[in-house]
């Protein structure tokens, strides 16, 4: 893209950088300025609820993925293995423990504050519980569980919704006592209103990938575009960010350009990225003109593109629905159907599954999904394996062979059918 034609490319990125720096600054000064800190997970996070009490929010997974991108996760993982963690357990957990043991300076160079509250939203990942139990062990702070039932059927059961609402209500006295701030329903209404505005804009960006060529890569770019919707959701500046980001997308649409020079293949991607080798992995696909038009990972923390919004008229219930429907809390049949639906909605040529050892919650079942895509729906599907945090599992030569072979055969098929 030539810079002269474009006024808005990069404005979102710059604005996001500013917001995330401000967030890190707030975290760094939280302890000395007496603000309370809650740790929570990205999937189904109840940020809106905690913001009512003015908690500062730390997301250990975000730290872990940023350590991966900055290629420091490998050292932290080894540090955790030194104290007894197995090579076969989740790399995010080990990265986080290793970082804590090394003094808890985050990937951006900011000091990460100790938690006052560990709020474990059990959204479809049992390892989350183990992770926070370990942090409770090391920090000696209370661990509060927010039990989110996994979706056993294809719709939300009212009993599950009410169970979560009840638990949130039960949590109010503890949050009030810890922060000294009273629960304020009007404030929650306001926060969920901001959340819903940002969600509207985010969905517009996601849906823009239905265009041909797609102006946006729904995997390799989405993972950066999505940071504010998970970290800052509920704050007005989060909505501002998506307005800026939307300008970038709008401009790309006007000029008919996208993330790669020429879009040759449109794919739906399943699974988290290999953070320590993010660029290399993207390059392997760019060589073939591959654009990810939809992905499940961009919905890992929350699922909006089929209609869900935080709802100011029923804030607690909508928070419960948000927790219940985030991608990691959806059962395998729902996940399989979703990927197939994406392939149709976004007119994709294939499905690409990046299966990671660390996260069994994501990966167990993916090979079976592939069988279904290929046999039931004749959807070309490629499954490759590495890891989201542990650089030792990224075998570039092997990945290149598989990716090249797959797209060669797709290209060949296209030529034959032409």
């Amino acid at each position: 893209m030539s810079e002269s034609k474009f006024k808005y490319q990069g404005v979102g990125r710059e604005y996001q950088k500013k917001l995330l720096t401000a967030w890190n600054d707030r975290l760094q000064s939280a302890e000395s300025e007496g603000r309370k800190v809650a740790y929570l997970f990205v999937p189904g996070n109840v940020a809106e609820f905690l913001r009512v009490f003015d908690f500062e929010l730390v997301f250990p997974e975000v730290n872990a993925l940023q350590c991966g991108v900055r290629k420091i996760s490998g050292d932290y993982i080894l540090k955790a293995e030194d104290v007894g963690y197995s090579p076969d357990v989740c790399g995010y957990v080990k990265n986080d423990i290793g970082m804590m043991l090394a003094g808890n300076v985050g990937p951006s160079g900011h000091k990460i504050p100790k938690p006052d509250l560990l709020l474990c939203t059990y959204c479809g990942c049992t390892t989350f519980i183990k992770w926070f139990e370990a942090l409770a062990h090391y920090y000696d702070v209370p661990l509060v569980m927010l039990d989110i039932p996994y979706l056993r059927g294809s719709v939300i059961e009212e009993t599950d919704r009410q169970y979560i609402v009840q638990q949130l209500k039960e949590l109010i006295p503890l949050c009030e006592k810890m922060t000294g701030n009273k629960y304020d329903h009007d404030k929650l209404v306001e926060i969920t209103k901001h959340a819903a505005e940002a969600e509207d804009l985010w969905v517009q960006i996601l849906h823009s990938a239905k265009r041909k060529p797609s102006p946006f890569d729904s995997y390799f770019e989405a993972v950066f575009f999505m940071a504010p919707i998970y970290i800052l959701r509920g704050l007005p500046e989060c909505t501002d960010y998506y307005r800026e980001a939307m300008k970038e997308i709008q401009e790309r649409i006007e000029h008919g350009v996208g993330p790669i020079p020429e879009e040759k293949f449109r794919v739906v991607v399943e699974g988290p990225p290999p953070w320590p080798h993010f660029r290399s992995f993207w390059e392997l696909l760019k060589r073939w003109g591959v654009c990810a038009v939809a992905s499940s990972y961009s919905k890992v923390g929350g699922f909006w593109d089929h209609g869900f919004r935080h709802d100011p008229t029923r804030p607690l219930e909508s928070i419960a629905d948000y927790c219940l429907t985030c991608y990691t809390n959806q059962n395998l049949a729902m996940r399989t159907d979703l990927l197939k639906t994406y392939a149709e909605e976004y007119d994709a040529d294939a499905i690409l599954i990046h299966s990671v050892k660390s996260c069994r919650s994501f990966s167990v079942g993916q090979a079976d999904m592939r069988e279904q895509f290929i046999r039931k729906w004749d959807l070309p599907t490629l499954l490759v394996e590495s890891d989201l945090a542990d650089p030792r599992y990224f075998q570039i030569a092997q990945l290149r062979n598989r990716i090249d072979a797959f797209f060669e055969s797709l290209e060949h098929k296209r030529l034959v059918h032409a």
Binding site: G84, Y85, K130, R152, Q167, S361, G365, Q366, A367
Partner: protein, 385 residues
């Protein structure tokens, strides 16, 4: 049959991956329904109250080749998940009418989804166990979850479960659990009379037979154990931790004992003694089961216990078993066990309790290096602590 002959006979049944006891039960109960139970704990009382047969679905213990499941489940996943799926894909569990998986870990949870996709003729349930032990709502939510399970079973069997039938099931399993606990009492007080291998075989039979038949076996065999004249040895008393889901090779249990250990407590087949006290058999039966789950379950790495610490529970096991050390014996790739290991070993170090850790897989065939490790551990415990 003598005690030893009975154990030999039961071993043959346990090793037979064609589930002969299920076939026999089905032939005696035309139209009867069989429900497969994946570990660690499942409410066996529910199918039992409807006259169904709950059966443990515990993998294949290295007895079959994994030909089909390898293409469905990646190599970095525990062997019980793959071998259980292989049992399904090779038609060895086609007599099962329903299968229960629970929220013990992400693998078991997703296996329920794989099972649903591959075996549409079976009723596949994923049970969400409550994780918020401090919430008064948890009991009611779990009671509702059991009501849902029961409703689906009723539909499967074409009849309703009465409150009386549920109470009788609770009583039947309470009695059976008390006998299983009795085996553990023997292991603690007179471990030379009953090896862990033998106790395991006896418990394992409980996953293959109707509870009444298993109770009958235990009632007959416990007096034989009591009267056994086996020699007490100068063994090291250990707690075995981490083998709660995937079944360790039985030879491994024997090797641990041969190398000089009395395993005085363990987390093998934990469902057989899941509740520390009898489930109340009065009042609302489902509520009793739910309350017992939340307040009266034994400690296990697959559960969060709120303010009750699992580290403390392990220390209690060490103290009550007068154990000299702990052996962490976890299946390869088992995250609940491997993640807990770090917290457990820190606690043991703090309390000066020696420990040893190794991993196993179903297909494991050579135990000599583990034997050497255990012998060295036993010596270090005997001579240096």
């Amino acid at each position: 049959m003598t005690f030893e002959e009975q154990i030999q006979h039961f071993r043959g049944i346990v090793d037979d991956v064609s589930f002969p006891t299920v076939k026999e039960w089905k032939s005696k109960h035309p139209g009867g329904k069989v429900v497969g139970m994946f570990p660690v704990y499942t409410p066996y009382e529910l199918p039992h109250a409807l006259g169904m047969l709950p059966v443990g679905l515990l993998g294949a213990g290295g007895k079959i080749e994994i030909d089909h499941a390898d293409s469905r489940i990646q190599s970095f996943v525990c062997s019980i998940a793959r071998s259980t799926l292989e049992l399904g894909l090779t038609d060895r569990v086609k007599d099962f009418d329903a299968v229960y998986f629970t929220s013990i870990c992400d693998v078991a949870r997703n296996l329920s989804g794989i099972w649903k996709a591959n075996f549409p003729h079976q009723l596949v349930e994923y049970i969400h166990f409550p994780q918020n032990m401090e919430s008064p709502s948890a009991v009611h939510h779990y009671r509702g979850e059991m009501q849902r399970l029961l409703g689906n079973l009723e539909q499967l069997g074409g009849k309703k479960a009465t409150a009386d039938a549920l109470v009788r099931s609770i009583e039947a399993f309470n009695h059976n659990r008390s006998l299983c606990w009795r085996l553990y009492e023997i292991r603690q007080l007179t471990p030379w009379k009953l090896s862990t291998y033998e106790a395991y075989i006896l418990l394992r039979m409980g996953t293959l037979l109707p509870v009444e038949e298993h109770t009958h076996i235990l009632e007959g065999i416990i007096p034989l154990v009591d009267s056994r004249e086996t020699k007490q040895r100068d063994h090291t008393r250990v707690i075995l931790e981490g083998s709660f889901c995937e079944q360790p090779p039985m030879e491994l249990l024997q090797v641990i004992e041969e190398a000089g250990c009395y395993i005085v407590n363990d987390d093998l087949l934990l469902h057989s003694r899941w509740f520390t006290d009898p489930v109340p058999a009065n009042g609302d039966p489902l509520l009793s089961l739910a309350e017992s789950y939340i307040r009266g379950s034994v400690s296990s790495s697959v559960r969060h216990y709120g303010l009750r610490s699992r580290k403390q529970a392990l220390m209690n096991k060490v103290r009550s078993g007068q154990a000299d050390g702990v052996i962490f014996c976890a299946p390869k790739f088992c995250e609940p066990a491997l993640l807990d290991y770090v917290l457990f070993k820190d606690e043991l170090e703090k309390n000066g309790i020696p420990y040893l850790a190794f991993e196993y897989e179903e297909k494991m065939g050579v135990f000599e290096s583990i034997r050497t490790q255990i012998e060295a551990f036993v010596e270090s415990v005997m001579f240096f602590t």
